[in-house]
């Protein structure tokens, strides 16, 4: 379609980045699997080995699990994000204007009409998710419906439609569910270790039925602690790198659709002024929102750690597009 020609490049980029992310994740999972298997094996045998069959086995299992996870997240990623955010479908009668504005933007973008959902909170925010263009969903908060006028809502929906047309939604959704999973696994490891050391401590006189004893368990525990600490940090870094450039692009795409920078400027101003964390926002989903609800960008927060550019910066760029 002629209308979508500008988005082809952005779409190809996002397909590539999604693939790279999942491939990298699989490689890292395999690496950790090997490390854990290797540590276990060295614990149970007296001879120190570099090549460990147990490690190779564990690496295969982890890689398979990671590929399985990739397929699951591509198929159900948007559903997971929606349930993390506790978003519910909204009926047309509840807000005809929201449906009208979204239909307008989907015509302008030349993409199918996305489903619309709402988060029951007074906070002002919105996000889009979906791993393909046809299963895309735009979610707005209840507060946003009351706070924005037509032009402002058009700017926000245009921004989300830009994410959909650029296929940002696929990459951002996969990043979201993956960050969530890594946080969950790291948490589980830490809890298990805590519980394990507590048990071991209280039953020190118990004959060590399990293999390894006290000295050999050291390597395994060090590896597990390293995984539990570094995996979330790495996941965070990926998440941070995700979206700054994309937000500028989606803002510009919104203006391309609406031909009215002022709507988005005043919407961003309102959302930014009221931004605060609310139920349904987690560290896994914060990067999806039009304005990050968790991270208040201040002078003390280095730009490198931000998922979003400063709103003032975004508004300045919108002014360059002809806004007032």
């Amino acid at each position: 379609m002629a209308g979508t020609a500008n988005f082809v490049e952005a779409q190809a980029g996002n397909r590539r980045r999604t693939f790279l992310l999942l491939a990298l994740l699989t490689a890292i999972a395999a690496g950790f699997g090997y490390l854990i298997g290797w540590a276990l094996q060295n614990e149970t045998t007296d001879t120190f080995q570099i090549v460990s069959p147990l490690g190779l086995g564990a690496a295969t299992v982890m890689a398979t699990a990671s590929i399985g996870w990739s397929l699951i997240s591509l198929a159900f990623g948007s559903r997971m994000v929606l349930s993390m955010a506790d978003a519910k479908p909204i009926a047309r009668e509840e807000s005809p204007q929201l449906f009208n504005v979204t239909e307008e933007m989907s015509i302008a973008a030349g993409v199918p009409m996305p489903r619309l959902m709402v988060m029951e909170t007074d906070a002002l925010n919105a996000f889009a998710t979906g791993t393909t263009m046809s299963n895309a969903v735009i979610v707005v908060t209840r507060g946003l419906l009351g706070a924005l006028d037509r032009d402002e809502m058009q700017g926000v929906i245009g921004h989300e439609m830009g994410h959909i047309a650029n296929l940002d939604t696929r990459y951002m959704t996969i990043v979201g569910v993956t960050v969530g999973l890594i946080a969950l696994v790291a948490d589980m490891i830490l809890r298990t270790l805590q519980w394990g050391s507590f048990n071991r401590g209280s039953n020190s006189d118990r004959p060590a039925g399990s293999k390894g004893g006290n000295s050999g368990g050291g390597i395994l525990i060090v590896v597990l602690i390293a995984v539990a600490i570094f995996a979330p940090i790495a996941a965070k870094a990926v998440q941070m790198a995700v979206s700054r450039q994309r937000e500028y692009l989606a803002d510009a795409t919104s203006v391309q659709f609406t031909r009215n920078p002022n709507g988005l400027i005043s919407a961003l101003t309102k959302i930014d002024a009221a931004a605060r964390p609310f139920p349904g926002v987690s560290s896994a989903t914060q990067h999806l929102f039009i304005v990050n609800p968790v991270q208040r960008i201040t002078a003390s927060l280095p730009a490198l750690l931000a998922t979003h550019p400063e709103v003032a910066d975004r508004i300045a760029r919108l002014r360059n597009l002809g806004g007032q």
Partner: protein
């Protein structure tokens, strides 16, 4: 030898004709699909306007000149056929509805009326949809017409029955989509 050359030329000519024909069919179909998208919204607009006029008339108790103008413009737009005719007629209709929206703005009892507000929202949305769909339609028309007029397709296009497609332009609203402050 000469026979083979002739056969080769005929085959090449046939293949070229097929390719040209198929390309033009694709382009024409796209413009028609794009037009039907606009047409749906135009019809919707034509259906909505009498409702709004009626509600305003009921609320005010008398018929205003603005209303007559809107009804006339609407009827003219309904009877226009094809993009070239519809363009100016729809532009005039947009002009007239803007007058009507202005009227609504200046009468508090109209502004507070839920029906009026709902109809105004629907009309604003159809106007926006027409504007956005028009962009896509005109893009398709341009690419179809360019293909049709390019050499060597231009040699065959007319005799294969591919006429030029008409652009849809609404002269009055070319610069800006009409905006209504809905509070």
């Amino acid at each position: 030898m000469t026979t083979w050359i002739i056969v080769g030329i005929v085959v090449a000519l046939g293949l070229w004709l097929i390719a040209t024909y198929n390309g033009l069919v694709g382009g024409r179909n796209q413009t028609q699909t794009a037009w039907s998208q606009i047409d749906v919204q135009l019809k919707r607009r034509h259906d909505l306007i009498p409702n709004l006029v009626q509600v305003v008339k009921d609320a005010m108790g008398y018929e205003q000149e603005t209303l007559t103008k809107v009804v006339q413009a609407r009827n003219a737009a309904v009877s226009a056929s094809g993009p070239a005719q519809a363009g100016p007629a729809e532009a005039a209709l947009s002009q007239a509805t803007r007058g009507l929206f202005g009227l609504v703005e200046s009468y508090p009892q109209l502004k507070a009326n839920d029906n009026v507000r709902a109809l105004q929202e629907e009309l604003t949305s159809t106007e926006n949809k027409i504007a956005f769909a028009r962009q896509f339609y005109n893009d398709s028309v341009n690419s179809y017409n360019t293909r049709r007029q390019s050499f060597p397709a231009v040699l065959a296009a007319a005799s294969l029955g591919f006429g030029p497609a008409e652009l849809f332009s609404m002269p009055e609203t070319e610069k800006e989509v009409p905006k209504v402050a809905l509070r």
